[in-house]
């Protein structure tokens, strides 16, 4: 059981870690472009923010999987 729990924890870590990396990679480019665009025209802030937070969904999915793994799986 302890070994199973260990595997679940490792899985949760991988889920958050890799999705975090993915979101980070995506946001890196979006963020740089967004800051450039806002410097040119402050009115673009809203649109830039929408584009900026788009990739965050990736890490949220990872977080949800990790939460499910850590809190729900052991009780099943």
């Amino acid at each position: 059981m302890a070994a199973d729990l260990g595997m679940i924890m490792i899985g949760a870590g991988i889920a958050v870690g890799l999705t975090g990396l993915g979101a980070g990679l995506a946001e890196k480019d979006v963020g740089a472009a967004a800051v450039g665009a806002i410097t040119e025209d402050v009115g673009l802030f809203g649109k830039a923010m929408v584009l900026m937070v788009l990739p965050e969904t990736i890490v949220i999915f990872g977080l949800v999987i990790a939460i499910l793994g850590v809190f729900v799986l052991p009780n099943m």
Binding site: G46, K47, M49, V50, E56, I60, F61, V64, I67, L68
Partner: protein
């Protein structure tokens, strides 16, 4: 959810000789959104030229702005009571702007002169300080026919080099790193001396054209500098005095002249012929009648007005018009709450005239989601206080809207935090202490009354308040359901927009199909999860109910895809996973709440169990309190960022993308906004 206000297009025609009166009337009434005339739009008409008074007003405004800059006056910050318009006008006509400009220029020039003198005196002082190291009067440095005089600073002692040259006299004062030297030599050995000095880092000091000993002159210069400083202070005080004296008039006349310039340049936006003018403008339909009446009263029968159309919301109607009449301005039509969220919508785009303004929807769901994600009474109270403060005091639109979100979000957070989650600062009110968590009951050592428990949701037998870290499945499901409702509303609004803009058939094909695809996908996925996650295995889960749900879901889905297909093609199928993605995106509501609960749990554990119970003593208690404060403050700040941004994102990306096109133009009527001036008649009536 409301459409922008209905607009009517009006055309006003009149004789050019009455243009000034009409202009004043249009500006004072403040309901006419001008439609710019384009070159060659109407035969025989061309764009007008500015009114004759405009050039003079511009010139005066320029002089005034220069004076503002010199005096450091910022018109926006002037808080003086307003001045009567006719007084300001009279003053401007009598040339007061020019007088002030001249006064200011004279004062500033005077100050600059003193400034310049001080700089020169300081340079002189610098030289005299160096020369005073030598025991030679200033008069001795000049007036020779056969001698050259070198006076300057040196970086090393030149005595040795100078001793080697015959027929010269010199004085040196040198201490450690630098010194001053004066050499008197015959003209024919000038080069020799020059070379000797250069080797010692010689730099010439210009000898001032005055007599007397340097020390005396230095004292005199010091006094001169002191006098000049006093004069400078007096000059600055004079400028400050001028600024104080004129700021009220400057602010008022700046406002008046800006309005004059604006009014004077109006003909540049309208059509004129040799003797007449034509003005096209949008007027909110509900103010149309009163506006027409007022204009008629003001102008008598001297102008001709005609209502051209009241623009409907159908795109066909708009597209049938001439290009310059197609863009209808948007005047948002929201209630008190919705109005506060118009700014958030405008960050993405201004709603089009034909579509539903999302501000009301945002005003309902954004604070609700924010509150659900925060979900803690302890964090909610500072949010409410800070939000109320921001709403009342903040001047900038950004802080106003942040304050609004914090206030209403805080109220939802308090409601969720107390009644649903039953917790404050990450600790439940009710319940026993375990080896990792504490509750308010165990912390305070009291038993809270039964009615208090009764206020909260009973999550399971004897457990009051939903635990964010235990009821994970339930919270995730709840988030998904909220998402379904939110998205359903968005799709319905999109469908309504489509029908209104393009008629039922086109609207259905464009947006209705998506509504059914969404509904079908939701029902089908619900059935699918019932089957796949059934604890008794897949075969046992295949009951009539689940199979019916699956079939109904699939049928609606096929209907939706089929409706979308003619317009969207393969996109209708490719977008289906996107619907699931959108719904699952709402799981962030639970996930962010949990991540905050997790952090709070960790800080509470460190404080109460590690520091207070295990370590104990005064040190433990103090260290615990520090961790508790810093930790919760951090969570609180993070809550603004994460709950705020993610709440907003759910509005912008998931919801508004389904129905909102944007790209409208804000209704900007010709208007007079007076702050520093006041109409004389108004003052009379008030008095």
């Amino acid at each position: 959810m409301s459409l922008p206000e209905s607009m009517s297009r009006i055309v006003i025609v009149g004789s050019k000789s009455r243009l000034d009166e009409v202009t004043t009337a249009l500006f004072e009434m403040g309901v006419f959104h001008l439609i710019d005339h384009t070159v060659d739009a109407d035969e025989g008409f061309s764009i007008g030229s500015p009114r004759p008074y405009s050039a003079k007003a511009s010139e005066r405004l320029l002089a005034l702005r220069a004076a503002e800059k010199d005096l450091g006056i910022r018109v926006k910050k002037v808080k003086d009571p307003p001045i009567a318009v006719n007084e300001v006008e009279k003053d401007i006509e009598s040339g007061r702007v020019e007088t002030i400009h001249a006064d200011v220029i004279a004062a500033i020039d005077g100050r600059n002169e003193i400034d310049q003198r001080i700089t020169e005196l300081k340079a002189l002082k610098d030289n005299l300080e160096k020369l005073s190291k030598l025991p030679i009067d200033l008069g001795f440095y000049r007036g020779y026919e056969s001698l050259v005089v070198f006076v300057g600073s040196v970086k090393s002692d030149p005595s040795k080099a100078l001793d080697a040259i015959e027929d010269i006299m010199y004085e040196v004062s040198f201490d450690k790193t630098e010194g001053v030297v004066a050499v008197f030599a015959k003209k024919d050995i000038k080069d020799k001396v020059s070379l000797a000095l250069t080797e010692n880092g010689y730099a010439e000091i210009p000898v001032p054209d005055i007599e007397g000993s340097p020390a005396e002159m230095l004292a005199k210069t010091d006094k001169d500098i002191e006098d000049s400083q006093a004069q400078l202070e007096a000059a600055n005080a004079k400028i400050a005095e001028l600024s104080e004296e004129y700021k009220s008039f400057i602010a008022a006349s700046d406002e008046e002249l800006s309005l004059k310039v604006q009014e004077g340049e109006l003909p540049l936006r309208i059509a004129t012929s040799e003797y007449s003018f034509v003005i096209d403008a949008w007027v909110p339909t509900k103010k149309l009648e009163s506006a027409q009446k007022e204009l008629e009263e003001r102008m008598g029968g001297n102008i001709y007005m005609e209502v051209q159309e009241t623009r409907g919301r159908s795109m066909h109607e708009t597209e049938a018009q001439e290009e310059r009449f197609q863009q209808t301005p948007t005047k948002c039509n929201n209630g008190k709450l919705g109005k506060r969220f118009e700014y958030a919508v405008s960050l993405v785009s201004i709603p089009k005239y034909q579509e539903i303004d999302p501000a009301t929807l945002v005003s309902l769901f954004f604070p609700f989601f924010f509150g659900f994600m925060v979900g803690d009474l302890g964090y909610a109270i500072p949010f409410i206080v800070l939000g109320a403060y921001g709403m009342m005091k903040a001047k900038s639109k950004d802080f106003q809207s942040i304050g609004t979100v914090l206030f209403f979000g805080g109220i939802w957070a308090a409601i969720f935090g107390f009644f649903f989650f039953g917790e404050m600062l990450g600790m439940h009110f009710i319940g026993p202490e375990t080896n990792t968590t504490v509750t308010w009951e165990s912390l305070l050592g009291v038993k809270l009354p039964d009615w208090f428990q009764g206020l909260m949701v009973e999550a399971s037998e004897g457990e009051y308040g939903v635990s964010k870290l235990h009821e994970v499945t339930m919270l995730l499901k709840l988030s998904v359901y909220m998402g379904c409702v939110h998205l359903f509303i968005a799709y319905v609004v999109g469908f309504m927009n489509g029908v209104r803009m393009h008629g039922f058939k086109e609207g259905y094909l464009e947006k209705g199909g998506w509504l059914f695809s969404f509904l079908g996908m939701v029902v089908f996925c619900y059935g699918l999860t019932e089957v796949l996650f059934c604890p008794d295995g897949i075969s046992a889960s295949m009951t009539t109910t689940t199979i019916t749900i699956l079939i109904v879901g699939a049928a609606i889905l096929v209907l939706g895809v089929a409706s979308c297909f003619p317009k969207e093609g393969a996109q209708a199928i490719l977008e289906l996973p996107g619907i699931v993605g959108n719904v699952l995106s709402y799981t962030r509501l639970a996930a962010i709440g949990m991540s905050k609960a997790g952090m709070a749990l960790a800080f509470n554990y460190i404080t109460f169990i590690m520091m207070w119970q295990t370590i104990g003593g005064i040190g433990g208690i103090i260290a615990g309190c520090v961790v508790f404060l810093i930790g919760h403050l951090m969570i609180w700040v993070l809550a603004i960022l994460s709950a705020g941004l993610h709440g907003l994102r759910l509005q912008y990306v998931e919801s508004m993308n389904k129905f909102f096109t944007g790209g409208g133009v804000l209704f900007a009527p010709l208007a007079i906004k007076r702050k520093h001036t006041k109409n004389f008649e108004n003052i009379e009536t008030e008095a």
